[in-house]
Amino acid sequence: MLADVTGETLRRWREAKGWDVPRMARELRKVARDSGEDVAAHHGLVKMIPQWERGGRVPRERYRLLYQKIFADALGDLSQGMALGTDFALRFAEVRSRAARLPSPDEIKALEAAALARPREAMTPAEIRAVAAQAIAHLHETADKLAELSALLGEDGPGADESGEDEPGTSPVRTSDERA
């Protein structure tokens, strides 16, 4: 499957995680260490990753396998959506990753409270409350759409919560459960 993935996709997956190139290098080395494999030194990977992402070089098999382990979730999405075309699969993987990084309703409430803590020229308190309410409403819609999409794609149940992100507590899918 990873043979189908372009350098541009590797870059998008990395950025979707919010990782810079040195972080990506650390993650590759961490997974390699966990599986007892030898890989290039950190500085070597920091040079190679941008080359892979630009398409100037193709990662060797051992690196492709490491990417596969790190981005198993994205590859799962890719495999799932590939029947609908690569463009669909990439869009799905990307939007799911972005959704998983959205703050929870409680975190949005905390932002709202902090924004309301002092008078502002840019926005009235009512406008601030409206923006926060809008954010939470879209968060709930996001959770609903993710569940709908998962059901349409034939995943097991509404638990599209296997995005594999670092902070599962921030997944908007949880907001559905919280509301229930």
């Binding site: 609908l84 669909f88 869009r91 799905f92 939007v95 972005r98 959704a99 959205l102 703050p103 949005i108 932002l111 709202e112 902090a114 924004a115 002092r118 502002r120 840019a122 926005m123 601030i128 923006v131 926060a132 809008q134 954010a135 879209h138 968060l139 819609e141 996001t142 759409k145 993710l146 709908e148 999409l149 349409l152 794609l153 908007p172």
Partner: protein, 44 residues
């Protein structure tokens, strides 16, 4: 293209809109708070 495929594409498009709208609203709130930090730096 089947009706199911159309439905999946429609839901994905809606999902993208909601994620973008949520990100935009959150960015507005964060920008307000970022202004606070700038003001503290300018007038400590």
């Amino acid at each position: 293209m089947s009706a199911r495929d159309d439905e999946i594409r429609r839901v994905l498009a809606e999902l993208e809109v909601h994620v973008a709208e949520a990100e935009a609203s959150i960015a507005v709130l964060k920008a307000l708070l970022a202004d606070d930090e700038v003001q503290v730096e300018e007038n400590p």
